[in-house]
Symmetry: C2
């Protein structure tokens, strides 16, 4: 487990952002291999990257001779391979709650709003920029309404999604809020989500993972 970790990442990809948080929470150092999702038609579609991931999606994690795809599978791999500090609670029922919150982002919100879907809406369905942004906000609102309801007043909700330690659900929620703000979603109806986001971003592991703190982020003001 001592081989160097390489993360194929794009600064603004929220799936890559999840994994960056997970790596940082585990205290694992890694090299970033930037994959520019927009330039030259998208480096993720080029053969060099498709060999690493036939899905043409970031993130990809390389560890020794093995290649790992899908952010949620990668986070579970980090948990399996480096159990401490844990991203999941001890009790199986509590773990299921955390995974459900994580999947409420990863299976219900993000897949509808990622770059390839927005490009398809514009290029194939000829949806204009306004319609595209309304689409994004619709699915974020649908998802956040449910997540807020699952968090608020739940006895397991603490400073973070589950108790007093950041975990798998927080790894997913914070990047999704970043994405929501980018599309000008009104966060007022989601005070619990916003409170947890702020608690997370106060931690160095989350702060270092922010899009603007990545080596491939454009310089401020450009």
């Amino acid at each position: 487990m001592t081989e160097r970790l390489q993360l194929y990442s794009y600064w603004r990809s929220s799936a890559a952002y999840r994994v960056r948080i997970g790596l940082n929470l585990k205290g694992l150092s890694y090299d970033t291999v930037p994959v520019h999702l927009v330039r030259d038609g998208g480096e993720q579609h080029q053969p060099a990257f498709r060999n690493a991931n036939p899905q043409g999606l970031v993130p990809v994690l390389k560890h020794g001779s093995r290649t790992f795809r899908q952010s949620m599978a990668i986070l579970e791999y980090l948990e399996d391979a480096w159990p401490s500090p844990s991203l999941l609670p001890f009790d199986a029922r509590d773990r299921a709650r955390v995974r459900a919150l994580a999947q409420a982002v990863a299976c219900e919100v993000h897949p509808l709003n990622n770059l390839r879907v927005l490009q398809h809406l514009e290029r194939v369905l000829e949806v204009d920029a306004e319609g595209r942004d309304a689409w994004v906000r619709h699915w974020v609102d649908e998802g956040f309404r449910a997540i807020e309801a699952m968090l608020v007043d739940h006895p397991s909700t603490g400073r973070f999604c589950e108790g007093e330690s950041p975990g798998l659900a927080d790894c997913c929620l914070v990047p999704q809020v970043y994405n929501a703000r980018r599309f000008k979603v009104d966060m007022a109806p989601y005070p619990t989500i916003e409170r947890i986001e702020q608690a997370c971003l106060a931690l160095p592991a989350f702060d270092a993972a922010r899009p603007e703190n990545q080596p491939d982020a454009p310089a401020a003001g450009t």
Copy 2:
């Protein structure tokens, strides 16, 4: 762990189908609580169901006093609570491969093609039935191309997605193929997926989970 399991399910929901397979592979008996996703505007939107799941989505699993949401989190819960027979291989790296295949369905294909998204395309974006079906096929083809590439010629691929025992990836793949056939996706480019689907459906655990074998399925010929 001896309390009765209740699965809120809809016969044709592929997320519910995944969990039915998982329950059957674990040899767990359960009661089906049918939630009709179409009738009366969708029972999943009614307050009685929204209390169980604010997401308004099936499946939901009840076990004793606890409620579990999100099919992938439920399957991981089954694995945690009833470890044998396992749906995941022993080695962490192999587990990550299986989870990545599962998530390639659960995070990339299914979320774009489920009922609420198709309804949104029709009602909000005014896409006609032909455009809606083309949308479904586009995302299935995108996903299946990648999954086929991840399966074919991989040394871990066996009779099933991973080796000689059915597991988490198969629980996701088989319902997605069912959905693909419903939308008349040409399966010819995906011979490995189709071969694995057939191997799965030959097993009683998969056969019993088929949509047409559910208590809420319409009678044949109706």
